[in-house]
Structure formats: C-alpha cells, structure tokens
C-alpha cells in the first residue's frame, strides 16, 4: 500500500513539474493543482497507513480499544484541500482576467509590469 502511494505521488509530481515548465500559464496552473494533490497524499502517507481500523471509540469508553488509524493527517489534508481550493479558484480567475485584459496566456509575452529596456 505504501509503495503504491509512493509511486502515485512520484508520477503526480513528475507530471506536474512537466506541466509547470510550460510557458502557458493555464498549463502551469493545472500542474500546480496536480502538485497540491500530490502533497496531500504525502501528508496522508506520512501519518502511517492503517488498514481496517477506524479511529472510533466504543460507547461509554474513554480510549480506543487497540491500535487505530491516525485521524490527524486526514484533518490536515482536509484543511489543505479547502485552502488549496480557494487559492486555485482565485488563481484561475486571475488567469482568466489576465487573458481578457492582456490577450495572452504566454508568460513570455507578459512584459507590461516589467517592460524591456528601449533598444538603443
């Protein structure tokens, strides 16, 4: 199971790095989405994987009976997903506005804020 997750994370990161090297800002963002998902899996795997032991405490008891799955990474991943969703929604809207206003999604052509020095 760990091996499967590790390979999945590796493939996700490789794909996302490939996409983030593109000049097209939209592709870059898709790469970023993949990368943030890969990181969520990293956190999940870092909390150790336990199969078939939900972190539930029996009625009336104060502590779980025997070893259970670690619930904290899931809480962290959930937070990270929510935050990542908000940021990426913003970034997509920003790219769209930029495209409407500058007419390009090619990062090489975005030189409005830093214009090239006038050629002598």
């Amino acid at each position: 199971m760990e091996l499967l997750l590790a390979v999945t994370i590796g493939i996700l990161v490789a794909t996302s790095v490939y996409m983030m090297l593109d000049r097209n800002v939209l592709r870059f963002l898709f790469g970023l989405v993949l990368l943030s998902n890969a990181v969520n899996l990293v956190i999940f795997a870092a909390g150790r994987l336990t199969v078939g032991a939900p972190p539930l405490i029996a009625d009336g008891a104060y502590a779980p009976d025997g070893p259970i799955a670690n619930a904290l990474p899931q809480a962290l991943v959930l937070t990270a997903i929510v935050i990542g969703f908000g940021l990426l929604a913003f970034a997509l809207a920003l790219v769209y506005r930029t495209y409407m206003s500058l007419g390009t999604v090619n990062s090489d052509e975005m030189r409005i804020a830093e214009p090239e020095e006038a050629k002598k």
Binding site: V25, L29, L32, V39, A46, P73, L87, V95
Partner: protein, 499 residues
Amino acid sequence: MSWLLVYPIVIPMMTAVASYLFRKSPAGRWISLAGTTLLLFASCLLMSDVLDQGVIAAQMSNWDAPFGITLVADLLSGVMVVITAITGLATVVYSFGEIPKRLEQLGFHALLQVLLVGVCGAFLTGDLFNLYVWFEVMLIASFGLLVLGGSREQLDGGIKYVTLNLISTIMFLTGIGLLYGITGTLNMADLHLAVREVENTGLLTAIAVMFMVAFGVKAAMFPLFFWLPASYHTPPVAVSAIFAGLLTKVGVYSLMRTFTLIFDQDIAFTHSILLWLAVITMITGVLGAAAMNDFRRILSFHIISQIGYMILGLALYTPLGLMGAVFYLVHHIIVKANLFFVAGVAKRIAGSTELSRIGGLYAHAPVLAFLFLIPAFSLAGFPPLSGFWAKFIVVKAALDLDMWVVAGIGLAVGLLTIFSMTKIWGAAFWPDHPDGIKPRLSDIPMGHRMALMLPIVALAALTCIIGLFPEPFVQFAERAAGQLLDPSVYIQTVLGVQP
C-alpha cells in the same frame, strides 16, 4: 490562558468584517482606522506583558500542548506584532489620502485588515500547521490587494506573484507533512525536543532545506526573489508600502523561528547554505537596484538586498548575529514602508515614479526632500540613524567570527545602497522637472496632504529615535536573541515541563 495573545488576531478580524459591511460608506475607513488603533493598543499591552514575563503562551480551547494549537509570544513575536500594528496604522492613515473611493468600495480596508490578521497570526502561533494556515490567510489577502482595481500592470505582476507564492506554499506543506511523518508532532516547542530523537538526521536536513526554500521564496532570498521586483511596483502605493514593510519579513521571521527552534541539528550544513545565500542576496539585490530607473522598482530591489543582511545575522548563529537580525528586522520595516510612502507622494505631485519623467522636488517640495533623506540615509546605514546600528551589529558579528569577506561585502553593499539613493536624489529631487511642472506639496488638498504626510513624519521620527537612543532597543534585541538561541523558557512555557 492569556487573552492578550488572542486580541491581535481577533481585533483585525472583527474590523475586517465591519469595514466590509460599511465599504460603500465613508464609515468603512473610519472603522478600519479605529480597529487598527485598537490593534496598536492591544499589541502594546501584549508587549508590556512579554517584557515582564519573558514568554507567554495560551492553549486554544484548553487543549494542552502539544495536542492543541498554542499561541506563544516571546520577545521577537511581541515586537513583530507591535511593528505590524504601527505599519498597519500608518498604511490606513496614508490610504485616506491615496486610495480612491472605487477601491474602498471594492473592499480595500477589509482586505488590508485580513492581511493584518494573517501577519499577526503568523507571528503569534506556536504550531507549524497553524503557521501554514496564517500564511494562507495573509497570502489570499495580499493576492486581493495586489490586483485590486485590475489594471494591466497589476494583473501582469499579479500572475507572477501568485504562481511563485503558490509553489512556496506547496513546498512548505510538503515539509510539514514529512516532518510530521518522522516526529509525530507539529507543535514547534515539542518539535524542538522531538527532532533530537530522530535517528535519520540526513532526512531531517533534507526537510530543513525544504523549509528553507519555502520561506526563502516568501522572504525573497536569492535565487527565489523574482516575483518581488515583478509585482511590488504595480499596486497602489499604500499597498506596496505595507507589502514591502511586512510580507517578506514574515518569511524572515519564519526562517528565524524554525532555524533556531527546530532545525538546529546540522548547523554546519544548513546555516552555511543560509550564509552564502544571504551574501549573494545582498549583492544581487543592490546590483538590481542600480540597474533600475523607476523609484518604486529601485526600492523593491533594495528590499531583497536588505533581506540578505537579516538572513546573514541568522546564518552567523551567534548571539550578536541574531541580535543584529532582530534589530535589522524592526528597523527595516519602518524605513522601507516610509520610503514607499515618500515615493507615493512624489508620484502624486510630480506625476510619475519613473525617474526620467520627474524632477524638481527639492526646489518645490523641500519638506518631502528632507523626509526622503532620513529613511534613505537610514537604509544606507548613515549614523546616527537606525540603519547604522543595524548594519554595525551585523557586520561586527561577522568580524567577530573572522569572516572578513562577508563583512567586507556587507559594507560594500551599503556603499552601493547610497549609490542608488543618490540616483533617486539626482533624478527626482535635484534637477528641474522635464515637463516644467512645479511639484508642490500645497497642490494636494489639505485633508489628503495631512493623511499622506502624517505617516511619513511619524515613521521618520521613529527612525531618528531608534538611531539617537539605540540603547534600550539594542538591549531588547539582545534579550530577544538570547531567547532564540536558548529556547528553554519558550519550551517550558508552552509545554509546561522542564526540557
């Protein structure tokens, strides 16, 4: 449980909500002003408590550390919160004279307050994942402020700012995940103890470098700074000023916190990387500034070079070095925000920030010229201003370790800083305006003039006070550095046990 730790986060949050509700009416900006004043008051109370007790901590929802989220204030956190409130207040006052109604109605003040929430939260938290959350709060507010109004330059700069900062965020999150995986805790005080029991120290060093990259992007360290000069000159001046003053410093603060409290295992490796990166950051920043021809773009590059000095202080890892870093941090926030404010007034009366298109400010606005010289000389490190002491301590710390090259570069960069300040002076203040305009301060309506000049005068006065009476500030920085190097009190206060 001390409520004082909660106020600097709750006050701006409430202010943000209230000023958003009243964004369409003039009441919104007065609410923002009142809220920030209250924040300054609350942060001073917090500071006096911290000065009394050394370190104070509060466990949120009464979940004991390391299980719950802890808010902690030591001297460094305390002074950073105070300086955040001061910069926030200066920015709000300045925005009265600069920010047009249209941007206020879009929610300028609400975003500014959310930014303050994020910054204060990042300074006060004692939990690594919580730090990530505050970074995000700060980041999303800064995204909004940066592109508010949506001009072409802002969108262009915004794309670079947003994308590079998102990468840093993801890097930070990965580091947190892996660190949790090998230690099983996220509480920073607990991490200090837990990393000592990790057997695979190589893995720990790898994670440390991940944090270095993540915070390095935020702090605009070489070679990760490209988003900063691409974006900081595009938004309204009030926004650039608070960004320039505060945001990169949150990165530096986080570096100082994590690389003294958590990653002090392999100092020979991690801190020598930091040392050389700091030196290169100083040089690149100042050379970049020398190549620029725009008031705000020169200042943006100077942020980078000054960040180098702070990281240098941390990398030296001696009491004197860290003391210099703390002093530099505080001095730089005041001076840099002030220079941006001056650039804004120059733009308002002379019509541009491009050096070739302005002039005549010395002849027609001598007050502004004088107020430019104070922070400019302070930035370059002229005695008796605050920058002199900051540079003096850092360079002295390098000399004490016989690092002649590093100290020499630090001094040379100071010299180049004067060069680019002279460049601004020689183009914007000295010669006549190319279009024959006479840029006078009296051209600005009275109310706006007061709002624009008040923060500049106040921050310039603060620079002079720190410069002329450095003794209490230096002693304070010494105590703060002592706490960073020996975190036993911090750990005892957070965990309630003797480490």
